[in-house]
């Protein structure tokens, strides 16, 4: 094999792997960004209903949110530390129980906490200088 051909193969392998890494990274960042935005929007709606003491609507919104979370959870666990996922999952379960017993104050606190957890996941995965160093 000639030297030029050898170098060309070498460079092609490097470019291929780099493209794969960056594409995967881009996909993952987008996925986390979109999913947490959707969940935060549902969470805001739910919080609004809870504040209005409309627990029936809040339950409907929670069911939708819970379903979406179960779809997302599996995908997120491929690239996010499982402890963080368990924490979010546990918080969702608490919200479910608090809606059932109509515990308004606790529910609002838990909603704020889960919103913070979701924002944290999004923030920690961003390619910022703060996260790099």
């Amino acid at each position: 094999m000639s030297r030029t051909k050898h170098t060309a193969i070498f460079i092609s392998v490097i470019v291929f792997i780099l493209t794969a890494i960056f594409s995967l990274n881009y996909y993952l960042l987008n996925k986390i960004d979109n999913d947490s935005d959707i969940m935060n929007e549902m969470l805001s709606n739910m919080t609004k209903y809870v504040k209005e003491d409309n627990f029936e609507k809040a339950q409907e919104e929670y069911d939708k949110l819970n379903e979406f979370w179960h779809e997302t959870e599996g995908k997120w666990s491929l690239f996010i530390h499982h402890a963080k996922i368990l924490e979010i999952d546990g918080s969702f379960k608490k919200i479910g129980g608090q809606i059932e017993v109509e515990e308004k104050n606790q529910l609002l606190v838990e909603c704020g906490y889960i919103e913070h957890l979701l924002l944290n996941v999004k923030k920690l995965e961003k390619p910022t200088l703060e996260n790099i160093f």
């Binding site: 070498f10 490097i14 792997i17 666990s77 491929l78 690239f79």
Partner: protein, 223 residues
């Protein structure tokens, strides 16, 4: 779960090491040693802790592979890059005289030097013409003429160049490519096998042929 994760990481590392090349498993240059150490650490974490996604272990390993490939390419193409990443060999003994300044530059103390010399069979510094500290940390030693053994050239002998021995059967399996490359006729080979009491190749543990055409056979079960 841990079993599967370990198998996956093992496969990834084997692949990565194969792509990195043979030097990675032999004598390491400084930048190669760094990669080898980091890969072992990165692979161990997701293997032990099932809460860490496998991708978090695989992605940095693949990134290291890319970095390694880029550095290898630079080292291959540029002498300057070679100097930066691999360093350059340094003379530690010249004409039986230890070069203190070079020892200090390499942070190599005199005990290390004497130990390396002894390990290579030169207990006396005065016997060494020159010693070079190579990039992989090995010490190359060139003895003085008075301390080295005579060579074929010194003795003015006419010795045939020695070619490598070719394996013909390993663990009862004939290596057909080697047989063809050595231009051995199968009929003759079978005759040789029968002569030592083997019914077929399955009875033979190991067989080879040297550059003079002399066969070596060892039967299985110590026969």
């Amino acid at each position: 779960m841990i079993f599967l994760r370990t198998i996956i990481m093992y496969t990834v590392i084997i692949l990565v090491m194969r792509i990195m090349g043979k030097r990675q498993i032999g004598q390491l240059e400084p930048y190669e040693l760094v990669v080898a150490l980091m890969i072992s650490e990165l692979a161990a974490m997701p293997m032990q802790d099932t809460a860490i996604p496998l991708l978090n272990g695989i992605l940095p390993i693949v990134t290291l592979l890319v970095a390694q490939l880029i550095v290898s390419l630079l080292v291959l193409k540029s002498t300057r890059a070679r100097k930066i990443f691999c360093g350059s060999p340094r003379l530690l003994i010249n004409n039986g005289h230890i070069l203190e300044e070079n020892l200090r530059t390499e942070l190599y103390n005199i005990d290390d030097l004497l130990e390396s010399l002894r390990l290579k069979g030169y207990p006396n510094v005065a016997e060494v013409n020159c010693a070079i500290l190579e990039n992989n940390g090995e010490l190359s030693i060139f003895p003085k003429n008075s301390s080295r053994g005579p060579t074929v050239k010194d003795l003015n002998l006419d010795v045939q160049e020695q070619l490598p021995v070719v394996d013909l059967i390993i663990d009862g399996k004939i290596l057909m490519d080697n047989l063809i490359n050595s231009k051995i006729v199968m009929k003759n080979f079978i005759k040789q096998m029968k002569r030592i009491g083997a019914n077929n190749e399955k009875d033979i543990l190991y067989s080879s042929i040297d550059s003079n055409g002399i066969y070596f056979f060892q039967l299985k079960n110590g026969r």
